[in-house]
Homo-oligomer: 410 residues x 2
Amino acid sequence: MQQFLEESKKISREIATLSGETKNKVLNQMADALIEHCDFIVHNNSKDMKEAENNNLSLDLKDRLLLTADRVKAMAKAIREIAALKDPVGKTLDGWVTENGLNIQKVSIPIGVIGIIYESRPNVTSDTAALCFKSGNVCVLKGGKEAHNSNQAIANILRNVLAKNKLPEQAISLLPDSSREGVAKLITQDKYVDLIVPRGGEALIKFVSQNATVPVVKHDKGLCHTYIDKYADGKKALEIAINAKCSRPGVCNSMETLLVHKEVANYILPALHEAFVYQQTELRGCEETRKIIDIQCATVEDYDTEYLANILSIKIVKDVNEAIYHINKHGSGHSECIISENYSTINKFLDEVDAACVYANASTRFTDGGAFGLGAEVGISTNKLHSRGPMGINDLTTFKYKILGNGQIR
Amino acid sequence: MQQFLEESKKISREIATLSGETKNKVLNQMADALIEHCDFIVHNNSKDMKEAENNNLSLDLKDRLLLTADRVKAMAKAIREIAALKDPVGKTLDGWVTENGLNIQKVSIPIGVIGIIYESRPNVTSDTAALCFKSGNVCVLKGGKEAHNSNQAIANILRNVLAKNKLPEQAISLLPDSSREGVAKLITQDKYVDLIVPRGGEALIKFVSQNATVPVVKHDKGLCHTYIDKYADGKKALEIAINAKCSRPGVCNSMETLLVHKEVANYILPALHEAFVYQQTELRGCEETRKIIDIQCATVEDYDTEYLANILSIKIVKDVNEAIYHINKHGSGHSECIISENYSTINKFLDEVDAACVYANASTRFTDGGAFGLGAEVGISTNKLHSRGPMGINDLTTFKYKILGNGQIR
């Protein structure tokens, strides 16, 4: 493993200096190759599907695992879109001349070797491989066991394109040892690996955070809130709350807890209740809430739970301060929203809530690279440093200072 | 300890929203207070100096520990300079409107709670406390045991100024338990601590890197190279090499290994030899070098050693590629320099050397917040992510997205 990663590090220097033209040509060839070898991918995916059947995987998981000709086409399209993005490497981020004439330039460069650990959906394999290649990085991918054959097939096709272009195949690799021990090795090889991106369940994130010596950009849970303020527009409140909870309850940017200002609770809660019942959402409320609408009781654990399901906890708060306090205490720093028409209250909320994305009067569901206009994303970072929120292609770069002198000494 | 850090986190929300005006007023009062209580500081420092005498600390360490009235004045001046810096908080770093009308703003914000672990010099206490406060952060400082009384005195003075301004004193704190166990606790409280900055020896850096679950910005060693190319200007080569090694051998941005192109070795090495002998620098060379000048033999360990002393290893390389290869293999990613007049060779070196600061024709000694024009620095980061190279006040911030909507749902 060490030898493999040492080699990854070595070739990362070659990949880092590829021109944008070369990278885009290769990426478009990769998209062509996926279409050309669609049958091969689907055939290998069917092995994983059979295994999933044998292991009684849930319908939802099987759907995430499944690849069809249409889905392969979508994968190819995603790669072409990544090729079309502006090259994130070589940008002058800042620059100045010092008093003694040193010309200092801060320039974006690739990170190097990036390890990405993710779960079942096999399209993540081609997406992240393309994002890493576009940004001049070598990737080491560790997908879910259940997608093993699909991931292998996709990686082989992408690697063949690299080889045809006389580029080192290992620039896109699956982790050779995908056991827990293999992962443990990957995340501690800080001499050769520059960044680990874990996307997955809490146990994975915890394992990686506690054991990695390589820097980690976590894609942790999203325990998102929407706060309906005293000065909320009722129509917006209703539409945004329903959208934030019900449009896709299983994703990280959906709402888990609704906070309602006590002075509008009597007016807004019955309408919300009716709308959520229509959406078959299970509601759990605090004592004050239950005096107004007839729902289940929320326990203390509810406010710390990312349901990822059509369940919502509701709490009545006395003002925006209590809302901010509750969010900073129970939130996961992902996406938080205030619905209000009051200028000062909104500013207070936007300033004081500690989260990657803080919304005024819009659904938290917009936290997404595509919706932000950043293009394809590696995921949603819950880190506070390096990358925060939608992790686009620019977050796959770091920088160096180039300093041009003329004999200066100190 | 957990309770203490929980409180630090809580008050970090208050410190984060202070206005620039308030922060600068308080900082200038802190500078005044240091001058006013100069005797108190010097008195407490004398206790540390006595202890140092009893423990037979080296002259160098004792000099680093010593505080005089002049040094206290310099500390006060540094705080005033920090107050005069532009507020790094609240800057709009980027901003755009999406197709559906969401107004997205990427805004700089304080990091939160920062733990800083450092060694003997007590002025670091006031410098880092002021930098953290200016950038809206709460700091938890763990200084060297040998400076305990000095650090306590300085911190008390600064805290009194906070209290007088009705601000929470705990915004500037010394770590309550400064044992190894205390540090181990600090670096694993990722719920309350947002960043750890270790400045110190290799053992400390290793301990923190391997055990922290809080993100770490390392201030690790500087194993810096200067490469004299075939097309070097001889005068610049001589001046820069001597400066990079001899102006202050004990600091991280000084040169440890000199690489010389084989085609200029015969011409440049005798002159360098003479100049270094004059500077009393101990030279250790490869076999090829020793055919030209009569110096000691460099072992394989030499090329991996940060001497921090007036010792230099020399190696002859066959071209810029071998120089780059050697640097990327043995360097610590800190500061590297090429001396050349050849445009393409310089560009190749600047592009392919993997380090925070890559110089053409200037001494690596310029890697420093002040020399870069960034103002006071927390140190020199050897991280590749978040902060790289001189870590100024802007690196003590992160960002959030503020998204202003008008009822948008997805």
